[in-house]
Subunit: 138 residues, 2 copies
DNA sequence: CTCGTTGCAAAAGATTTGCATTATG
DNA sequence: CATAATGCAAATCTTTTGCAACGAG
């Protein structure tokens, strides 16, 4: 499905900026608003950061994208498509990793049954230490 | 263990401000830097917000506390003691919930075995919809 | 043509930093 | 007494908002 089709399907207006944001996320997979702007600017200079924020908000509300917090600063956005994945973030080296969300499916199911809480599988982040840093830390 | 003892055990200098921050987190369980300052100020006016930030940084590095991101704005800090717990955050009503971290232990173990990544059980947040909001959403 | 979107600039909120002062070990 | 920690103010970074101009439906 093209960006334009996704927007229409969600009942949103199709603007160049929204298409560019979706295209940027398709290209870079994950990115902060700032990083998204960089990619958008490559294809069409003059787009404003606040427009990026507003697009992200709308797109997230329409469930076309989600975001997650990796580290302190800016949040990371990514498209909702293909397989949901969970994020791992190493608190030492600050690198991010992705894993299939199926790994957490049991936990997600348990939480739903026992607490009625529906975890969004696109939006899971685990913090910790990656293999490399854990070794160096010994 | 008293706050002062915790600090000593971690090899940190025992300052009134650090004790106050630990005491505040003991009292309120979870809080943003701003909220922590409010509690600290109750017991000792004149402490500066930047000191709170610096204390939090040091305490987190010493593994006495951790933080997690509930929602967009400020991060939430909490003490590392007793039972680790995971956070649930409803993206509709913005409320937060706590559950014992044992719920996620299987997932955490799998990730460790398959990817060598050591998830910090104190630092898990799931986003999604709480029971109430999920119902209203039908 | 109408109303939602955007660009721009300014405001607001969160976090960090330089430096003189104070307090811990 | 040396050095780390703090208070204060200013700087930075991130996100939001008001408003006029523009563009999609």
């Amino acid at each position: 499905m093209t960006s334009s089709e996704k927007l229409k399907a969600a009942g949103l207006r199709v603007t160049q900026q929204r298409e560019l944001v979706l295209a940027a996320l398709d290209a870079i997979r994950h990115g902060t608003p700032e990083e998204i702007l960089v990619d958008v600017t490559k294809h069409s200079p003059g787009v404003n950061l606040s427009t990026i924020y507003r697009c992200l908000e709308v797109l997230e509300k329409a469930a076309l994208i989600t975001h997650t917090h990796l580290g302190h600063g800016a949040p990371t956005y990514h498209v909702v498509d293909g397989d949901p994945h969970i994020h791992l973030r190493c608190s030492k080296c600050e690198r991010g990793f992705s894993l299939p969300a199926t790994l957490a499916s049991e936990t997600v199911a348990t939480i739903r049954i026992e607490n009625g809480f529906q975890v969004d599988p696109y939006h899971i982040t685990f913090d910790g230490q990656c293999e490399k840093c854990a070794q160096e830390n010994k």
